[in-house]
Symmetry: C2
Subunit: 207 residues, 2 copies
DNA sequence: GTCTATAAGAAGATAGAC
DNA sequence: GTCTATCTTCTTATAGAC
């Protein structure tokens, strides 16, 4: 594996655990298996490593967004899948997506790094909100609008539906980031949330 | 004002904006209006300042919890108020509570500080989850259980109701922490969320 | 309790050999 | 590209006068 890439991986891991300022260049180097001065042959400075991680992450965001969007980028294409899917299917899909975001090393580390660095820079703050809130809500709004138009769900404001669907899932995800030992317990809540959400917006009175 | 208290305030402000490691003792001192060495007459070390903030916060948590709980500590006592309250009243109460948490200097700074320091220490992680999730959900669960028992709302799982009520509000709050200029726009979403939540769990079909 | 001066040490970065 | 040795700067913290 490329040393340059190894450095980014090591740095991302450390930055996500301790934050940029608490990580020493020597630590990154040690994780890679070299000495600190050697690292400067690959990156001009510590800050350049951080910036490179950010750049890599922006590039790979389309890939992550594709996961989030299940299909790629078109809500209309996904609506059909959802329409046919059972409540159990919705739960299974939600849980497996949750598990991916929770356990995928790159995804989790980047989420944690952005979390602890979000107030250092308005650009990071905007990136955070865009990536973990606005884009997700925007996509899900489209999806729910479609499902309501199809009569699969009943709801008058898809944007609020998306907020009410997404926010609990994101909250459970960040709880697992902080206390991984609670994953099993919180996955149960996740499942119950999705089930109740589905029931509610189907107009089911038995709740 | 007591210098010792001034130091805590200055440090909390700086820690919440830049994180513990990025704040220098000299910065804190400057904000207080003294020189760095003078500060050591009040606190033995930089870490002791951080610890003192944490202690102060734990002490004042009951006060904050009282705000969150509207009444103090007994959901049963609050349920009556809610039962009598209109949808508009619920919105007004939710919005003003939201504004308090967003604008109260101490509350906001402590939330931001805990956000950026949460992964440094399992104790901080547990404190974060307890304060911003578990305790809030636990209280709201009791409240919703009461309202369901009274027939004011219809729902079979108060814990999930609490999650679906609280998570969107908390998400909007953290968005305002990151991008204060979006407050107006997000307050509209907050209001729509509360209205739709109220309608849904009243069994209203017109949604 | 506050100051100036300074010690002590940490951490980012460079020089130059191999 | 990696190493050892080293420079430089920054930062916490202490000493001691006032």
């Amino acid at each position: 594996m490329d040393t340059k890439k190894k450095i980014l991986d090591a740095a991302l891991t450390l930055f996500s655990e301790k934050g940029y300022a608490n990580v020493f260049v020597a630590e990154i180097a040690e994780k890679v298996g070299i000495r600190a001065p050697s690292l400067y042959k690959h990156y001009k400075s510590k800050r350049m490593i951080f910036d490179a991680i950010l750049e890599e992450m922006k590039r790979s965001y389309d890939g992550q967004a594709a996961m989030l969007r299940i299909d790629g980028n078109d809500p209309a294409a996904d609506a059909g899948k959802f329409a046919a899917v059972s409540e159990d299917g919705l739960v299974e899909m939600g849980v497996s997506l949750f598990r991916f975001f929770l356990h995928d090393g790159y995804t989790q580390k980047f989420r944690k790094m952005l979390t602890v660095e979000q107030f250092h820079d308005p650009e990071l703050a905007a990136l955070f909100t865009r990536q973990y809130v606005d884009d997700a809500l925007s996509y899900q709004s489209g999806l729910f609008a479609m499902l309501c138009a199809n009569g699969v769900l009943k709801g008058e404001d898809p944007q609020i539906m998306a907020l009410q669907f997404h926010a609990p899932i994101y909250m459970l995800l960040t709880m697992c980031d902080r206390e991984p030992e609670r994953e099993a317990e919180l996955t149960v809540l996740l499942e119950q949330h999705i089930r109740q959400f589905a029931k509610m917006y189907k107009g089911d009175e038995n709740r």
